[in-house]
Subunit: 417 residues, 2 copies
Amino acid sequence: MTEILKGACIIGQSGGPTSVINASAYGVIRTALDCPEITAVYGAAHGIKGVLDDVLYDMGKEDPEELRLLLNTPSSALGSCRYKLKDSDEDDTDYKRILEIFKKYNVRYFFYNGGNDSMDTCNKISKYMQKVGYECRIMGVPKTIDNDLFGTDHCPGYASAAKFVATTCMEIYLDARVYDTGMVTIMEVMGRHAGWLTAAAHLAAAEGMGPDLIYLPERDFDMDQFLADVKRIYAENGKCIVAVSEGIHDKSGKLIAEYGAENAPVDAFGHKQLGGLAATLANIVKGQLNCKVRGIEFSLMQRCAAHIASQTDIMESYRAGRSAVEFAVNGVTDKMVAFERSYDEAGNYVCNIKLLDLTEVANTEKKVPLEWINEAGNGLTDDFLAYARPLIAGEPDRKVVDGLPRFAKLKKVRAEG
Amino acid sequence: MTEILKGACIIGQSGGPTSVINASAYGVIRTALDCPEITAVYGAAHGIKGVLDDVLYDMGKEDPEELRLLLNTPSSALGSCRYKLKDSDEDDTDYKRILEIFKKYNVRYFFYNGGNDSMDTCNKISKYMQKVGYECRIMGVPKTIDNDLFGTDHCPGYASAAKFVATTCMEIYLDARVYDTGMVTIMEVMGRHAGWLTAAAHLAAAEGMGPDLIYLPERDFDMDQFLADVKRIYAENGKCIVAVSEGIHDKSGKLIAEYGAENAPVDAFGHKQLGGLAATLANIVKGQLNCKVRGIEFSLMQRCAAHIASQTDIMESYRAGRSAVEFAVNGVTDKMVAFERSYDEAGNYVCNIKLLDLTEVANTEKKVPLEWINEAGNGLTDDFLAYARPLIAGEPDRKVVDGLPRFAKLKKVRAEG
């Protein structure tokens, strides 16, 4: 039988936000507030930095209805950070401070909501607490639009971003071919090392309303081949729509986004004025084809467009947070909550929760399988469709007032130690 | 009593598309198909060019359910154009050809769905048909995200784009302040001469989740004042969010988007590689403030994001199309359908249909009233909120299959004359 561990918990958010990271936070907060083992629920301001700075918010003081609105509020409501802890063997200053804060508030549960780096943070804190003999259960709750976390079928946050990308590709497809004049459209999607999110453009293509060409960072990008691809399709139908990952690079590893950099102008202060990848490629294509070329960057919209989130993603994200708390109060520690896919007898997608060792998941990346990329390296296979389709299903049940979203407004009352 | 005019009708779409231009087209097509006076309903491929090229589609051959999906399908389903007719006194070649096609198909009704230029086209055709004594009723159905048509309270298409802008501003607001490090975000919104769409960012600001600064082309843009505004707000809270119209210009009339042009690099083919306004301003701010600056262009998304359209806009757009047909079969010609606002006894917004002379509306622009812009020229007043709020209300009742929009797929069967 599991020993009952009584004490407070901290929830922190870290890394780039998503449309649904707050759904996971809500899963943790709501469940923790309802757990008799957990004596107080604190939200750390800007992730681990809030712990180091002793800026914790008392979640018990929030209006339950506002907390519930976190399910549909994008970005990290508690604030995020990109702070990387040193190895405790090298410098244990931060760890001592964390221990001090944990003791001050009698923190016995720590939930960290983030990507690769955040799982590394979790893992390091956990190892330190074990070393110094401070009993504390530490759980990672994954999030990333990049979908690149190791060992999980998919990551909370990916599907909503993918749905934005696929929906927007369909809408842009219709817009970009409205005139009977030639036009090339280049859409830039986030993803430095993994092309999962750009691959979502293929969901639109499969509806007959998406890009003709899709390039992921999993394959080396060949400029000559790209230009030949664009010219061929443009010659066929006077239009060409392309989706590219921001991280595409040539075989030497050089980012294509940097191809314009040599000639980039320098401003009065000596700063290079770099355009994005879409602008760089648009300029190169414009130089070769005598037609209108438009570069479009999906920018922050792709990770914060909660209004077009996947309800499947929202509920799974919530569940990941809730499960982390349930496992922890039942004795589990040092794990990240992960997803395993199965299909029921009727062939419907089912998402099951599993646990991964933090050590296993920290700092490793999962990329799009090369066999899901077509031979020419400019599109995806049906395997990707089968993978992604169930994830984006379901419309968000969100609160709208007079046409605008009603997002959560937290009071953020400082905790008293 | 009105003389009954029996014959076919043509519907054409022109200019930049919107999220709801097809809702107006559906209003025309559905109503015309149901009118006993109208013997056939033809859709012109790419507006007036489809008439000149004799490429007309028989709308009676479309599946009624697919036609109905036009209510939520963005962009111009029939195709658009930016073709400007010459004055018939100078060159009547096009007019003779239009008359020939009208006679070939016995066209007695012509509905044209577009902005300023399209109303000019309508007007010219109408005058010519009167001159040559060919009986034909000609009606304009307005659309424009720019909201700059003269004489109407607002234009179909504006509210949906405004809702996208306001919603996206709120989402970006949350995302752009998630880290505890400094950041300036500059969002570029469409609108060359009129700032209506950029003003929609104020709807987000009024919710406490929008830009700190908003600049419209109705006022001269002063770079020094802008930089002072940004620095002041950045110094206050470490973040600054700005919305700008693409058409902002200095007092000499020079576009701010061209400020980067002198130093812009030239590619191998001699083309200047221009970034957009957001990138230009971001680079200028980056040169002055030592912090992260992000330029975001709302690009085509703001005019095609049908998934976040205003239901009020959809229904008004539909009604504009329907009314055009109803008026025409009842004897009206040479008019554009327009909107007049009133409020009922409970203070609720009511949209009434009125008619404007085509001559009156063609080629004139309506701008944001200067008294709705604050004194500093970097924000809007509450008058704008009262104006815009009722327009963006209502969520679109759209068809979604497995998480993706189900847009209309027309067969486009060529008409037989």
